[in-house]
């Protein structure tokens, strides 16, 4: 088995369909989707039961969570395999401490449970595997050849997004009167705080004597964070569909300053998406 499995080779059964993230963003039909009658409002909006499209939006989000959990499982598994055991403090050296591998194996177990929970919840919410497309940007972040950048991108940026998403879904379950959803999301949220804390701790430990590498890792995290802000889908605004879960991020080792930066990154991503949608609209009308 090779070290580092390219994203094209991720194994899936026939139900799964992949759509690249860029293809989705560049699709002029996104402008029409934004104006679809059931959507209720243009642009992003907080997920509440009152929204006319709430059931579809929640099911779509649930499916996205399920796909994310599969790729998180695969990414953590690859980190167990891709690197040799060593001190892991060398620049770009493909080696990691034994204890880091143990953390990744633990994460495999957690993500496998999350896949099981998400599959059950998807059924509970009336969707099925393959109903929505899969995009693979999560696994792509898990292919970084430097283990520190990989962990920072996946465990801090991606799993950080998971904290925000699970907190949103947990709140949605609470206000929608769905105790099953609320219960499950709360349990997954607990695991995600652990995973993000793993990322924070390993970033600190492995770059304690290498500030340049730490900066590169944090820069990679910013890039991934911007991508994962999904055009303002996740942000700190009142109408952000997924809001920053500041309290849980703090438990996971995020500083206030980092959360402010993240909120700013999300605002930028939202502005860029709105500009793109406007361009798509002009293309459709033109």
């Amino acid at each position: 088995m090779r070290k580092t499995l390219p994203v094209e080779d991720l194994a899936r059964d026939e139900r799964f369909v992949r759509v690249p993230f860029t293809a989705r963003m560049d699709d002029p039909r996104s402008a029409r989707r934004e104006e679809a009658p059931g959507k209720g409002r243009r642009g992003p909006g907080r997920l509440t039961p009152e929204r006319p499209d709430a059931p579809d939006a929640a099911r779509s989000l649930m499916h996205g969570i399920f796909m994310g959990e599969i790729q998180a499982l695969e990414g953590a598994g690859r980190t167990c395999w891709d690197f040799e055991v060593g001190k892991g403090t060398g620049e770009g050296t493909p080696e990691v401490p034994f204890e880091l591998k143990l953390d990744m194996a633990r994460q495999c177990w957690d993500e496998a449970r999350h896949c099981e929970i998400s599959a059950k919840l998807s059924e509970h919410m009336g969707t099925e595997i393959g109903e929505f497309a899969e995009n693979t940007f999560l696994y792509e972040a898990a292919c970084n050849p430097d283990p520190v950048l990989r962990l920072t991108g996946v465990n801090r940026a991606l799993e950080g997004l998971a904290i925000d998403v699970f907190n949103t879904m947990r709140e949605f379950g609470e206000i929608a009167g769905d105790p099953v959803l609320e219960f499950c999301e709360d349990w997954m949220l607990a695991d995600e705080v652990t995973h993000v804390k793993m990322g924070s701790d390993w970033l600190r430990r492995l770059t304690a004597d290498d500030k340049a590498r730490q900066q590169r890792a944090l820069e990679f995290q910013r890039v991934v964070d911007k991508l994962f802000s999904l055009g303002g889908f996740r942000g700190d605004e009142e109408d952000s569909p997924v809001r920053l879960a500041r309290r849980f991020r703090e438990l996971a080792g995020f500083e206030d300053e980092e959360m402010e930066t993240l909120a700013e990154v999300a605002r930028e991503a939202r502005a860029e998406l709105e500009a793109r949608v406007e361009a798509n609209r002009a293309a459709v009308q033109g």
Partner: protein, 219 residues
């Protein structure tokens, strides 16, 4: 109530634990180092395979089992300093080159259509060998002096047996044709031969010395 001052034996009448055991401290440390080495190779491979298997149920079980074997590796890692090995890496080694060859072959398959080959190697060859070696150790070490190892072996064997059952059931559900059955049998034979050459997960003596009859002994 009985007189609290009345002398009682240190071992209750039903407690049949005996001294000594079959393994010295050094021999136990050597075996434990080999156990840690094989557990590491196994959890790394299971983690790597998760992304390569298309079958969803298999994918999720591999993720779960990956952690089980990582936890076993961690238990053995922690046991080594208690056995006077302060540099656990020194003994985290394979018993011989033949076991390395076995592991290399075991972890070779990558293509998505090779799930049977991946699972046979783990669940029909390696896990039974681990269960055998761990059981031999459990039954032959001193239940008094080596109680910490025995406690770990108990936890580990419970995982191994449950994981073996999971893997075997997955395999039985995947093997539907004679051709698939032939693939499984061929793969098992190939890997079993390599493991035989290695003498087991801890090398020759993994499950005790070869049986010698009384006649042979006196010949």
């Amino acid at each position: 109530m009985a007189d609290p001052k009345r002398p009682r034996a240190p071992f209750a009448p039903w407690d049949r634990r005996e001294l000594p055991g079959s393994f010295t401290v050094e021999e136990t440390a050597r075996r434990v180092g080999h156990y840690k080495w094989i557990e590491m190779r196994l959890f790394e491979a299971l983690g790597g395979w998760v992304a390569t298997v298309p079958e969803l149920d298999v994918k999720l079980r591999l993720g779960t089992h990956c952690y089980h074997h990582a936890w076993h590796a961690d238990l053995w890692h922690k046991r080594l300093p208690e056995l006077r090995e302060m540099d656990p890496d020194r003994l985290t080694v394979p018993p011989n080159d033949e076991l390395v060859a076995f592991v290399d072959r075991l972890t070779e398959p990558e293509a998505p259509e090779l799930t049977i080959e991946k699972l046979v190697g783990v669940y029909r060859v390696l896990l039974p060998a681990k269960i055998a070696a761990y059981t031999y150790h459990l039954n032959n070490t001193s239940r008094i002096t080596d109680a910490p190892t025995i406690r770990y072996l108990g936890f580990i064997l419970q995982d191994e047996i449950e994981d073996w059952r999971d893997g075997e059931m997955l395999l039985q559900s995947l093997i539907e044709t004679e051709e698939e059955l032939r693939r499984a049998v061929d793969r098992q034979a190939e890997l079993q031969a390599l493991l035989l050459a290695a003498g087991g997960i801890a090398g020759p003596g993994s499950i005790g010395e070869p049986y010698v009859s009384e006649e042979e002994q006196h010949a």
